[in-house]
Every structure is written in structure tokens, then in C-alpha cells.
């Protein structure tokens, strides 16, 4: 009886997971398939297989400047993630080591900040960036991305540092390290998994971020991939195979990173439950 119930539960769970996976995978599969179609076949038979492996749409996408957009995306993502990891790491470490309840109170405020949706602060962020003269610059994206990414990463690091063995820090103090040296020479080198988790999670978010980039960047030279691909959409026509090719190119680096560092990505989410 017990075993039958277990089997039924497993079946439901597997069924749900399978369906969910299909929902996620079908659009990705369609995007890759559509990238190889011609403009004509896209309109005649949008869900049919491509007649042949047609690389022209990739050429057209590249011609619009996907290469440049990719470099912009890489730069913005890299810089934002570096800022997020450094500041979140130091903040979370300080919060976990603060005596009394002050650290916990600040931590709660940071967690509360995480609950504010990006859309709610779009206009103020735009005004601040405009006022500072940062519009159409990479810094205009790096700063808000970092500001928005820090709370989540602090939560992630906080859980990690709470469990970090105190004896190692005490040994470092006995060895003559200051607080900062302890952080730099002992804690940071041993925080690889937490840093990797944070970096991957934030990279995915920043790489895909669209709405803020759309507001802040109008000059093609600074556009990131999600905004740049829009160039393939005209007012009256859209080159859908090229859009799909551009999206495939944009997705590919992240897919690769995800496949290579899947365990850190999963851990970044699992660690939040600590």
C-alpha cells in the first residue's frame, strides 16, 4: 500500500517535471530550428522543419552587429558581476560577523530591498543616470545591475559565511592577519563555490536583462545583445529567422556556462534555503 502510494507520487512528480521541461525546451528547440529556416519557409510553414541547414540568417544577424552587442554584453555582465561579488562578499561577511543583532537587522533590510521589482524603480534609475550624464554608457547599466544584484548575492553569501569555520579565521588572526587580510587570504580563496554560484546566477540575469538596457541605451555602439537583436525587427517587417539566429547566438554562451557549471547554479538556489 505504502509502496503503491510512493509510486503514484513519483509518477505525478516525474509527469510534472517532464511537462515543465517540455515547456522550457520547446521554445529553445524552436528558436534553434527557426534560425536555420529561410524567410520564405518561415511564413509558409512556420512550425515545419527547415529544408536545409541554412546559415544565411546567422550571417544577417551578425551583419546587424551581433558581434559588437555580444562584446557589450560580455563587458557589462563581467563588470557588473565583479562589482556584485566583491561588494556582496564583503557586506555579507561583515553582517555575519557583527556582534549583537545589528547584523541581522541590516540583513533583513537588504532582504526587504530584494522584494522591490525592477519595474518600480525604472523611472528613478533612468532619471538618476540621465542626471549624472551616464546615458548611453556601459556604466549606466553596470551600476543599476550591481545595485539590483547585490541584495540577492548578499543573501547567498550570508548563508555561506554563517557556516564558514570560525577556527580558520581565528587561526589567521593568530597568524597575524587583520580582518581584511583574513577575508582576502583565507575566506575568499575558500569561497569558490559561493562565488561561482553567485557569478553564474547574476550573469544569467544580467545577460538577459532587456528593459533597463532598452531605456538607457539608444546608440548601437553600446547596445547589449537583448536590445541589439531588436534591430532585426523593422516597423513593418521582421526578419524572424535572423532574430532567431541572433537569439541563438545570444543564448549559446549562457547555455555553455550552464552545462559546464550546472552544480554551482543549482547550489546557488539550494543555498537560499539555509
Amino acid at each position: 500500500m505504502e509502496q503503491r502510494r510512493f509510486k503514484a507520487t513519483s509518477l505525478v512528480l516525474y509527469g510534472f517535471t517532464g511537462l515543465w521541461s517540455l515547456m522550457v525546451l520547446i521554445p529553445i528547440a524552436y528558436m534553434i530550428m527557426a534560425a536555420f529556416k529561410t524567410k520564405r519557409s518561415m511564413f509558409i510553414d512556420p512550425i515545419g522543419w527547415p529544408d536545409a541547414l541554412n546559415w544565411e540568417s546567422f550571417e544577417r544577424a551578425w551583419g546587424v552587429g551581433v558581434g559588437g552587442f555580444m562584446i557589450n554584453s560580455v563587458l557589462v555582465t563581467f563588470l557588473s558581476v565583479v562589482v556584485i561579488v566583491i561588494f556582496s562578499g564583503m557586506a555579507a561577511y561583515a553582517l555575519t560577523r557583527m556582534p549583537g543583532r545589528s547584523g541581522q537587522i541590516i540583513y533583513l533590510l537588504i532582504v526587504a530591498g530584494f522584494a522591490i521589482p525592477v519595474q518600480a524603480v525604472l523611472v528613478p534609475v533612468f532619471q538618476i543616470m540621465s542626471g549624472a550624464g551616464f546615458l548611453n554608457s556601459r556604466l549606466a547599466l553596470v551600476l543599476p545591475y550591481a545595485a539590483y544584484g547585490i541584495p540577492f548575492t548578499v543573501i547567498l553569501f550570508y548563508a555561506f559565511f554563517l557556516d564558514f569555520p570560525r577556527e580558520l579565521e581565528e587561526a589567521a588572526r593568530l597568524d597575524g592577519c587583520t580582518r581584511f587580510q583574513t577575508f582576502l587570504r583565507v575566506i575568499l580563496p575558500l569561497s569558490g563555490p559561493a562565488i561561482a554560484s553567485a557569478a553564474i546566477f547574476q550573469s544569467v540575469f544580467i545577460w538577459n536583462e532587456f528593459i533597463l538596457a532598452l531605456l538607457i541605451l539608444t546608440k548601437p555602439a553600446f547596445k547589449t545583445l537583448p536590445v541589439g537583436i531588436l534591430e532585426l525587427q523593422g516597423e513593418f517587417t521582421s526578419d524572424w529567422p535572423a532574430v532567431m539566429a541572433g537569439l541563438t547566438l545570444a543564448t549559446l554562451p549562457l547555455l555553455l556556462i550552464f552545462v559546464l557549471a550546472q552544480k554551482y547554479f543549482v547550489r546557488s538556489l539550494a543555498g537560499l534555503g539555509k
Partner: protein, 374 residues
């Protein structure tokens, strides 16, 4: 000079007083072991000496220098932690030389110091390895090596052997003793294991509830415990304790009466303490190994028999009297034979009892009469 002088040391954690005005002098080259039950403050005291806990009051001197509020690295102490606390991302050599590196010592000098320490501890073959590639015993050696490399005035050990298995613990205990003789350094060692305390210490400090109960040589503490706590804490199995009433307290002698036993008369060894009078409730203590042969005998119904090879422990219920404390069940006592002894649970045994092997404790728990040496 590597003396340690602690005076009036107080440490509070909120409302909890972890250390209650500790005074302790440790001589140059002395091996002092601090023991006590969990939460007695022994680790807090060690950490205060190391500089990892700031005291609320009092003073700590290392040599002739007041280090009470100095940074840990500036005190001339090195500490070996219970969990080794080796840096996992550094090699053994890196771990051992890290303190010197932070002090800005030249690479060649660090390499020499690491080599010297590794020779002393026979870990020269492991210098290039990462800690995760080492066994527990090797890790502990590296942790000790890290302390040696810094050439401290005082070595601090915080239960360093408690993570090792029994055989390795015995070996490391001997090795630490050898190391102490070789380095002739001042060592302060915290443990809850009384075997470690009894075998390694020049002097033992027994702590309870944040205060020092007694300081002395292992034999002194064992034979002449200052109070019931020390008497009960040192010795395994614990001392058997019986409730008694004073029937005479004259001419430097105390006579106590215990239901089911003849009156016990012992000399009054300690005159300080509360005034003793006839009718006072006192406690009598007798160590399990003192039982077996003696002036009188009693019947004991064995409940549990533990044959340990070189000795036999028998936990049982005496026919005529009851104990009031100890390792055995309520009312039971424990007898320790220093040999193999054929007995089985349920069997009634005749056990000898020397009447001069009793300690007498007053109602404050203070020892007033010591047992005669057997």
C-alpha cells in the same frame, strides 16, 4: 621568559559569567592542563590567553608584558585547535609558514623554520601535500608544526586530540609529552579527558562554573582533592559517595556513622571551613579501586560486570548500605579490581573495604579528611 600570569580575569557573555575572577600563575616551561566539565570556562580562559576573547576585567601577562588587550599575533602565543584549523587551500608547508609570511619574514628563513618543525614532527614527506590528503593524526601534527614554526613563548592546545581515535590519541599524547621535553616550552592544554590531564600535566587546573576549584600536580589532586567536585571529577569510574552523620568531632578526629556500616573514624586533616559538630550531615567518599580487600567486607549484588582486560569494573547494589552519587545507578556502587575477575551479573560477591580509605567531605563539599595511601 615564558611565564603566564593571570589575575582577576572576568569574562561575561551577556548575563552569563563565563570566568569569575580567575587568578593563575604558570611557570616557565611548565605543562599545565585545564580540565573541567563542559561549560566550565576552560576553553574561554584559553581563548582569553590567546586573545580570541577580550576579557571584561583582569590582566594577562606573558613574560613581563601585559598582553590583555594585544592582538593574538602580538602576544607570543600559538594555538592548536581541536579541528586542526588548517587552511585547506594551502599546502602543509604553506600552512606552517603562513604566520611567518604574514610577519614579513624572508622566504629562506620561513623554509628553514618549516623544515626544522617538520623534522621534529616527522612530517617532512608531506610538506607539498594539501591538508585534505592527510590523515587525522598527520593533520594534527601539521597543526602542531604550524605552532612550532612561529617559535612562540607559550603553546596553547584546545582539546587537540579529541578528534582522533583512541589508539592515535594515546600515541599523540606520548608525542606531545616528548615534544614538551624537547622544546622545554610553556604549554597550556585544555581537555575534558582526565587521562590526558593525569598523564601529561606538570600541574592540573580544575575548573567548574567559571572558577578554579583546585590547582596542583596530578597525584596531589587525585590523592588530596580539595573538595567533592575535584574528587568526583578526577578518577574514572567516579568516587563512591555515601551519606553519613558526624557522631564525634574531637581531638583532631572525625567519626561518621553510615547506616549499614561500622563507624568510620578519620583524622581531621583540614581545619579551615565550617565548624563541625556532632549531628552534622557529611559525605564519605571511597574510590572504586580502594574496594576489594580490607578491614571489613560486605555483600554486593553485581548488576553489570565490565571486563576490560587489565581491570574489571563491577557495578552493583550493596546489601547493607546505599551510595548517593557516582557513576553507578542510584544507591549502587562501583568496585574496580586491577585484574581480571570472574563474576557475572546477578551474582552476589563479597567485597572488602578498608576503613581508612574514606574521604570525609563537609556539607559544603569541602574535604576535611583525606584517605590513607594504599
Amino acid at each position: 621568559m615564558s611565564t603566564v600570569e593571570i589575575s582577576g580575569l572576568v569574562k561575561n557573555f551577556g548575563a552569563f559569567q563565563a570566568l569569575k575572577s580567575i587568578d593563575l600563575s604558570i611557570g616557565d616551561g611548565e605543562f599545565v592542563v585545564m580540565v573541567g566539565p563542559s561549560g566550565c570556562g576552560k576553553s574561554t580562559l584559553l581563548r582569553a590567553i590567546a586573545g580570541l576573547e577580550m576579557p571584561d576585567d583582569g590582566m594577562i601577562m606573558v613574560g613581563d608584558r601585559d598582553v590583555t588587550f594585544e592582538e593574538p599575533a602580538d602576544r607570543g602565543v600559538a594555538m592548536v585547535f581541536q579541528n586542526y584549523a588548517l587552511y585547506p587551500h594551502m599546502t602543509v608547508a604553506g600552512n606552517m609558514g603562513f604566520g611567518l609570511k604574514m610577519a614579513g619574514i624572508a622566504k629562506d628563513a620561513i623554509a628553514d623554520a618549516v623544515q626544522r618543525a617538520s623534522d621534529i614532527l616527522s612530517i617532512g614527506d608531506h610538506l607539498h601535500k594539501q591538508p585534505k590528503a592527510l590523515s587525522g593524526g598527520q593533520k594534527q601534527r601539521v597543526a602542531i608544526g604550524r605552532a612550532i614554526t612561529r617559535q612562540p613563548k607559550v603553546f596553547l592546545f584546545d582539546e587537540p586530540l579529541s578528534n582522533l581515535d583512541a589508539a592515535l590519541r594515546t600515541r599523540m599524547r606520548v608525542e606531545l609529552g616528548r615534544l614538551h621535553n624537547e622544546l622545554n616550552a610553556t604549554m597550556i592544554y585544555v581537555t575534558h579527558d582526565q587521562t590526558e590531564a593525569m598523564t601529561m600535566a606538570d600541574r592540573i587546573v580544575v575548573l567548574s562554573s567559571g572558577a578554579i576549584e583546585q590547582v596542583g600536580s596530578p597525584r596531589d589532586l587525585y590523592n588530596r582533592p580539595g573538595n567533592l567536585f575535584v574528587a568526583g571529577f578526577l578518577g574514572s569510574p567516579k568516587m563512591n559517595v555515601l551519606q553519613a552523620t558526624l557522631v564525634s568531632a574531637t581531638d583532631g578526629e572525625l567519626t561518621a556513622s553510615v547506616a549499614g556500616l561500622p563507624d568510620i573514624t578519620r583524622p581531621l586533616d583540614v581545619t579551615e571551613g565550617r565548624e563541625l559538630a556532632v549531628g552534622d550531615k557529611v559525605l564519605l567518599g571511597i574510590r572504586p579501586e580502594a574496594l576489594g580487600e580490607g578491614d571489613i567486607s560486605f555483600n554486593l549484588k553485581a548488576r553489570v560486570v565490565e571486563n576490560l582486560g587489565r581491570e574489571t569494573l563491577i557495578y552493583g547494589t550493596p546489601e547493607n548500605f546505599r551510595s548517593c552519587d557516582g557513576d553507578a545507578e542510584d544507591g549502587d556502587i562501583v568496585v574496580q579490581y586491577p585484574r581480571q575477575y570472574d563474576a557475572a551479573a546477578g551474582q552476589t560477591l563479597t567485597v572488602g573495604m578498608p576503613l581508612d580509605a574514606f574521604y570525609i567531605f563537609d556539607s559544603d563539599g569541602r574535604t576535611r579528611s583525606f584517605a590513607a595511601a594504599h
